[in-house]
Symmetry: C2
Subunit: 329 residues, 2 copies
């Protein structure tokens, strides 16, 4: 069957609140730089009160990736849970406006739309404190077979391992996708998430995942090692394609016994690294679903990541298809 979608992403439907801070702020608030911590509404309120003025932008890891793929010109669908409130409306608008099919019903009653309070330090690192809100109400029923079975690749964010119902939704999607002869990809999302769910994650990767995205600290956390090359090899042994990002050092793609090293694109001034990994995955998956060679997939990922880190916000501000053309990709 021809795929209606290049990528169907399943993830937390989150609106980001992005503000600048200094390192002392992170220390004062007990935040670990570069990490994602889950917080409850009371903590969200007190942390927000302490934060500087910000901007709001639709986020969510897999949703950001879907937005990136759409910006390249790919066909995308998204599954995730917002509430029927102002921020939920914003999130839905932003997905729909990029041409993404997003039919998951909003939560009529219960928690508010998820927010991630993102503090960006002068070194452009982002530290996320996420109130999952309506996201915890994503259930297997929300995983529409008509969408998953019609997508070349289903893309799952590792953050979904935290809410129990979402993890079941995750498993359902994997079964549906493979049942339809499609591919499953996932991102490890966060080294602390990896630490919380290591054995379950390893099991899922070994039995279900074709393509796995990670960054350096995540892949090292997964295999409890500081040896990067060994960790990449261990991951590559467990799936078809392992794509591991290393910030300004670029990325490595391991597949079929081969290792491809891909450079990062130079960025004049890195402003906010939020969404870098998400956009790398977007470029990579777009390339892959268009049948491009793996090194080109990696370059498309690097290019999309370079674009997103030169401004605040986790999604592209330029048309990535045109940007790729400009760079001869």
């Amino acid at each position: 069957m021809t795929a209606l979608y290049d990528v169907a992403a399943i993830g937390n439907a989150i609106v980001d609140v992005i503000a600048q801070c200094d390192d002392a702020f992170l220390a004062r608030e007990g935040l670990v730089k570069g990490s994602m911590a889950l917080i409850d509404p009371a903590r969200a309120s007190s942390l927000y009160d302490a934060m500087s003025a910000g901007i709001e932008a639709s986020g969510g890891s897999a949703a950001n990736t879907a937005a990136g793929v759409a910006s390249f010109g790919g066909k995308v669908a998204f599954i995730g849970k917002v509430a029927d409130d102002q921020l939920g409306h914003v999130f839905r608008h932003d997905m729909t406006a990029i041409g993404c099919v997003f039919t998951t019903p909003s939560l009529a009653e219960g928690p508010a739309t998820a927010q991630s309070l993102i503090n960006v330090t002068p070194d452009a690192q982002r530290t996320m404190s996420t109130y999952l809100g309506a996201c915890v109400e994503l259930t297997p029923d929300d995983v529409d077979p008509a969408i998953i079975e019609a997508a070349q690749v289903a893309y799952l964010e590792g953050y979904l391992f935290d809410p129990p119902e979402a993890r079941r939704a995750f498993a359902k999607a994997a079964a549906l996708s493979h049942g339809a002869g499609r591919k499953i990809s996932m991102t490890l999302s966060d080294s602390f998430m990896v630490d919380r769910h290591r054995s379950a994650l390893l099991g899922f990767i070994e039995t279900q995942c074709d393509i796995v995205f990670a960054n350096e600290s995540e892949v090292c956390s997964l295999f409890e090692t500081t040896d990067f090359a060994a960790a990449v090899q261990a991951l590559a042994d467990r799936c078809e394609i392992a794509a591991v990002t290393r910030s300004e050092k670029g990325s490595v793609v391991a597949a079929s016994g081969q290792l491809h090293e891909i450079s990062a694109y130079p960025v004049e001034k890195v402003v906010d690294t939020t969404g870098a990994g998400d956009q790398y995955a977007a470029g990579f998956l777009y390339g892959l679903t268009q049948g491009r060679p793996l090194p080109v997939c990696g370059q498309l990922g690097s290019l999309a990541a370079a674009e997103v880190i030169d401004h605040y916000g986790p999604r592209p501000q330029v048309n990535l298809r045109e940007l790729a053309a400009k760079y001869g990709l």
Copy 2:
């Protein structure tokens, strides 16, 4: 009495939704480039549906100016009306986080927090469609004498001439401010607003305003002329200080029979002109309340305007006090 505040701003409390569009979009939606049009909820909904994905940022003309003054290190207060909803919460947070005193109670029932749907074309021009929502419920009761009388300068946005109750609040503020021996400043905001309320505006300027901000098209609209120099002179004849901006041509400041021409600061790439006039007023008023000479006030205005147009969003992304120091101001 020593002033507790350098500037007390009264304005519409608005959250901006900023999205990119092309000129064809403006034509299709019947929008006049560079203008501000008032819209009702139904139109807001249909226009938003048609817009591309955006970001949200606290806006509102006078509120943006207050944010700019605060970024320079000035002491500011703001009076404006939000609803008790998610976007109202965002607006209040963003004002409070910059150190602005903002005590106007939220509207418990009634319309939602105001939103301005801002479409930015590739030439960086912003076209605004504003649903005033809770702003129309700003009344004279919200104008706290303790704030207005304690501010060196009360700053009023011309947009407040549209909602009738807000216009009465405006008049109350002017009376309080002058009664306390303070200064009144206002911005003309928009050439269509000027056109709608020309005679009332002229009367208000002649009898109440010490400092008036305008751009080229607004001052020309006010005096129904295409002769810029004549319009500036006509404005200067009616108030103490007339500060008129001219985009990349800089600004002119007319006062005490003297005309100061001030250059614009060069900007590498103009991204979004939203807030340029607001930030010019911020720099100017900050300088003025610190007792700086008028040409320096104009330069501070130019610098703040240059900062805000190199990124999306109507408020500074860097500390303007540090930026001014870097430029020897």
